[in-house]
Symmetry: C2
Subunit: 488 residues, 2 copies
C-alpha cells in the first residue's frame, strides 16, 4: 500500500528538481523582504522590544501541530523578520561591526544551503572542500606573504578565530599558558581563556585606546616575579588588536612584534593579532600600510562578515605555516579512517573545532571573483572615506565633540556638555523611535576623563554624504540644549 | 568630486532595493544548480579527489586582482560546486548524518543572509531574537515537558551542543570534572574534554553498540578507588547517546538515568544525552517512546540538520530550567551594558559561546510552520520506514549480512565472506566511480568479532523502494564472488 504523498513543503532543495522547487519559494521570500522593509520604513522598527515581541506574536504559534504550507510560512515569517529587523543596509544602522551583506554573497550562500555540503569529510563536500583548500591558502598568503606555508581555517567569526589562536598557543607552549592583552582587546579573548581552562588574562590599561609596547615589555619582564617558587618562565601569549571594537584603533603592531621577539629568547612566547575588523585593509593599497607588522604574528584573526560584506559567518584564522595547525588533528573512523586517508581521501577533520560545517568559503569565493581584490579595495576605501566625512561633519559642529580621527571606519562623538546618562539615553531614544542604530563606547575625553561616547561604525560603502548629514542632525535634535551663558 | 560609481557586484542584499538586486542573481544560482546537477549526473562526481581538484582549477584563480562581475562569478562557481557535490538529495548519497535540506528551509535561509541579523545584541536582531526566544522555549518544552523553565541555545551542531553540555557541567560541578561515556559516544565528547582542559573521558566498552547501565554503575562506584588521597568524591558527567553515529543505536536512557540518580546522593553528578540524531523522533507519536528517559537529562543535544532537514547549521542544546544557563552570562559594555539591560533591552550575549551569530532559528521556524509537527512526524516516519525496507532487502539477500534491525534509520551490512579491506575498497570504489556515497562503521558480527560494515544512513524521506533496490544491487555488483563450494 503506497504511503500518503508528502506535502509540497517537503520538497527538497537539492538534486535535479531542487531549482524548480526553490523558484516560487524564492519569489515569495523576495516579496516578503520588500513588504517587510516597506512596513519598517527605517533602520529598525519603532517601539522597542515590546513592539517587536507583539509583531512576532501576531504571527501565531511557533510550534503548531499542523502546517500552513511553504508559501504562507515563508511569507508570514520573512515579512515579520524584515519588518522587525535592524537592517545594516540602512545607512542609519551603524552601531556595530554588523555589515550589510552584498547581494552576490547572499545569492551564493543560497547554493550552500541548497546543496548542503558538510566540510567534515571529503565525501560530503568534494568541490566545496577543494575550493576551501585553495582560497584559504590564498587569503593566508595575503596576511603572511613570507610564511613558509600560509594556511587558514574558516571560523564562525572573530570569536572562534581568537579561541583557536589561544588554543594553538596552549597546545604549542603549555597548559599553564598566561595571556597578556590590553583593556582594548575583544571580550572573546577573556572568554577563550575561561573556556580553555586557562587563568584570566593579564589586562594592561590602554588609556589612549591602544596597547603600549613599553607596558607589554614591563609586564613580560615582571611576569614571574609573583611566583614564589623558582621555575621555568611562564609561557605567554600576547594578544594585540588591529581594529578595536570600541574605536577601530590599531595597536602599534611592529613595536609589539619587536617586544615579543625580544622576550622570545628567555620565555616561550606566542603573538596573536585580532584583525577581525582591520584585516580587510590588506585589500587596499591605500590602507594596507596601517597593518604593517601583521605578518609577524603566529596567528591572525580575520573576519569578512565585517569589512568584507559577507552574510554571517565568514571568519578566518590564518597562520604563516600550516604545520602550526597540527594540534587540531583528530581521528574519527567514520570520517577519516587511516586506510581512507592512505587511499587519497582528504582528511578535513583537523580543519575546524566543529564537525558538520557549512561551506562559508563559497560566498567569500564568489564575492572575490565578482569584485576582485581591486573591487574589494574600492569598497574598503569608500567606507573609510565615509567615516572621514562623518568625522569632518562632527568636528565642524560646535555642539558635538569628536573623539579622534577614525583609524578605520569608526567615529566616536558626543554632544558637548552631555552627561553619560544623557548620551546613553540619546542612543536608546533613537533606537526606540526607530530612527537610528548607534553604538556606545567608553573612552577618554580631551580632559583625560573616561566618558561615554556615541559610536558610529560605518560599514556601508553606499552611504551618501546626505545620509551622514542626516545622522548628525538626528543626534543634534536629541542633544541637550546648550545652557544659556551663565555670565549674562 | 564624486567618486567612481561602484560596480553592480557591490549592490546590497538588504534594504528596500535588496530584493531587486537579488532577483537576477538568484535566477543565475538556480540555473547553475541545475546545470551542475546535470553535469554530475549522480550522487557525486566520478573520478575522486583529483578530478574534483581539476574541476575547480578550470574555474581560474581564486583571488584575482580584477573581478568578473556577479553573474559570471555566481554561474562559474555555483556550477562547479554543484557538479562537484556529494548531494544528499540523491538517494544513493547515504553515508553520513548529512541531510538533504528542504527547499522551504533553504529559501528561508536566504532571508537570513540578506538581512544578516546578528544574534549577539537586540539592536542587531530585534525580530530574529524575539523569534528565537519563543521557538527555543517551545522546542525545549518538547524535550523537557516537566521542566520548570525549559530553554534551549542554538548551536552550530551537535559538536557545539555537546561542548556546552560538558562546559555547563564543569561550571556547575567542578573544574576537575570527570567524564564517563561509552565507546559508542560521538568523538566530540572527547574533543570537548580536551578543549575545556578536562581529563580525557573514561570510556566504557559498548560491545552491543549501547552503553550498559551496570557498567556505568560499576565505573561510578570505582571512580575514586584510584585516588591515593582521601577526599571528596570526584564530580562526574555521564554522557549517553540517543542515536549513535555508527549504527543509530539508542542507549537505555531510563536505566542510565536511574543509575545516575542513584549515585547523585554520594557524588556531584550530571547527565547529558547526545540526541543529535535521535532527538527528532520526538515529533513522531509512532517513534517517541524510543526516547523515554530523555527528559531526565540535565542537558540534551538536538540537531535539526540531521533528522529535521535543515541546511547546516541547526543545532540545539536544551535544558529543563533556563537558569542552568547562567554560567554563560557574560558582559561586554558595547553589547549589553548594565543600564541598557536595566532599560529593557534584552541581553543576548549569554545565549551562545559565539558573539556574532546567524539567525539559524529562522529556517527552523519557517519549516515547522510550513509542515507542523505532524508534517515533520510524517517525514521522520517515512525515513525510518525506508531504513526498515532497506534492512528487509539486505536480510532477504543471501550474499549480504545485515548487522541489526535499524533503531532509527541506519543500516549496517556487508557482503558475506568479505574481508575488512574488501568492504573498505567497495566503499571507495563506489565513491570514486560516482555511483554511491556509503559510510563505514566497525561493529561486532554475529560471531562476536569486530568487523567493518558498510553503513547506509538514510535521511531522504523521498527515497523510493526502487532506489533502495538499486543501492543493494550496486553493492552486490562490487561484492566478491562467493567461492565455489569447497566440498565439490
Amino acid at each position: 500500500m503506497p504511503a500518503n504523498p508528502l506535502p509540497d513543503a517537503a520538497l527538497l532543495a537539492g538534486g535535479a528538481a531542487g531549482p524548480r522547487a526553490l523558484r516560487p519559494l524564492l519569489d515569495t521570500v523576495l516579496d516578503a523582504l520588500a513588504e517587510g522593509a516597506a512596513a519598517r520604513c527605517g533602520p529598525l522598527p519603532a517601539g522597542g522590544p515590546d513592539a517587536v515581541t507583539q509583531l512576532l506574536e501576531r504571527c501565531g504559534p511557533t510550534l503548531p501541530d499542523h502546517g500552513t504550507g511553504a508559501l504562507d510560512a515563508l511569507h508570514t515569517l520573512v515579512t515579520a523578520l524584515a519588518a522587525g529587523a535592524a537592517d545594516p543596509a540602512d545607512p542609519h544602522c551603524a552601531a556595530h561591526l554588523h555589515a550589510p551583506p552584498l547581494a552576490v554573497a547572499a545569492a551564493a550562500d543560497l547554493a550552500a544551503s541548497a546543496l548542503n555540503p558538510s566540510m567534515d569529510s571529503w565525501d560530503q563536500a568534494p568541490a566545496a572542500s577543494a575550493l576551501e583548500e585553495r582560497l584559504t591558502r590564498d587569503l593566508a598568503a595575503l596576511v603572511h606573504p613570507r610564511g613558509p606555508g600560509p594556511d587558514a581555517l574558516v571560523t564562525t567569526g572573530g570569536t572562534e578565530a581568537n579561541l583557536l589562536g589561544v588554543l594553538l598557543a596552549r597546545e604549542r607552549l603549555s597548559p599553564r599558558l598566561a595571556l597578556l592583552c590590553g583593556a582594548n582587546a575583544h571580550h572573546s579573548v577573556h572568554r577563550a581563556a575561561w573556556l580553555l581552562g586557562l587563568p584570566a588574562p593579564t589586562v594592561l590599561p590602554t588609556p589612549r585606546g591602544i596597547l603600549d609596547p613599553a607596558a607589554v615589555h614591563d609586564a613580560l619582564t615582571g611576569l614571574d616575579t609573583l611566583n614564589c617558587t623558582a621555575g621555568p618562565p611562564t609561557p605567554v601569549l600576547v594578544v594585540a588588536t588591529a581594529g578595536t571594537t570600541d574605536s577601530g584603533a590599531i595597536d602599534p603592531l611592529p613595536a609589539l612584534a619587536d617586544t615579543v621577539a625580544a622576550h622570545r629568547r628567555g620565555r616561550p612566547s606566542a603573538f596573536h593579532i585580532d584583525a577581525a575588523y582591520g584585516g580587510a585593509l590588506l585589500f587596499s593599497p591605500a590602507h594596507r600600510a596601517k597593518l604593517a607588522g601583521l605578518d609577524r604574528a603566529d596567528t591572525v584573526t580575520l573576519d569578512l562578515h565585517k569589512l568584507g560584506w559577507q552574510p554571517v559567518a565568514a571568519g578566518l584564522l590564518t597562520v604563516p605555516d600550516g604545520r602550526a595547525l597540527a594540534p587540531l588533528g583528530h581521528r574519527a573512523d567514520y570520517l577519516n579512517a587511516e586506510d581512507d586517508t592512505d587511499a587519497g581521501l582528504p582528511d578535513l577533520l583537523g580543519r575546524s573545532l566543529r564537525t558538520t560545517r557549512r561551506p562559508d568559503i563559497l560566498k567569500i569565493a564568489v564575492t572575490i571573483r565578482a569584485l576582485g581584490t581591486a573591487g574589494l579595495a574600492a569598497l574598503v576605501e569608500r567606507t573609510c572615506d565615509a567615516a572621514r566625512d562623518l568625522a569632518d561633519r562632527v568636528a565642524a559642529e560646535p555642539r558635538l565633540t569628536l573623539h579622534a580621527r577614525p583609524a578605520i571606519s569608526t567615529v566616536l562623538f558626543r554632544p558637548v556638555g552631555a552627561a553619560d546618562e544623557q548620551v546613553a539615553a540619546i542612543r536608546r531614544r533613537l533606537l526606540t523611535e526607530g530612527r537610528a542604530v548607534l553604538g556606545r563606547a567608553r573612552a577618554r575625553d580631551h580632559d583625560g576623563r573616561t566618558v561615554l561616547w556615541l559610536k558610529a561604525t560605518l560599514l556601508n560603502p553606499h552611504a551618501q554624504p546626505s545620509d551622514l548629514a542626516a545622522l548628525v542632525k538626528l543626534v543634534l535634535d536629541q542633544a541637550p540644549r546648550p545652557r544659556k551663558d551663565s555670565s549674562r
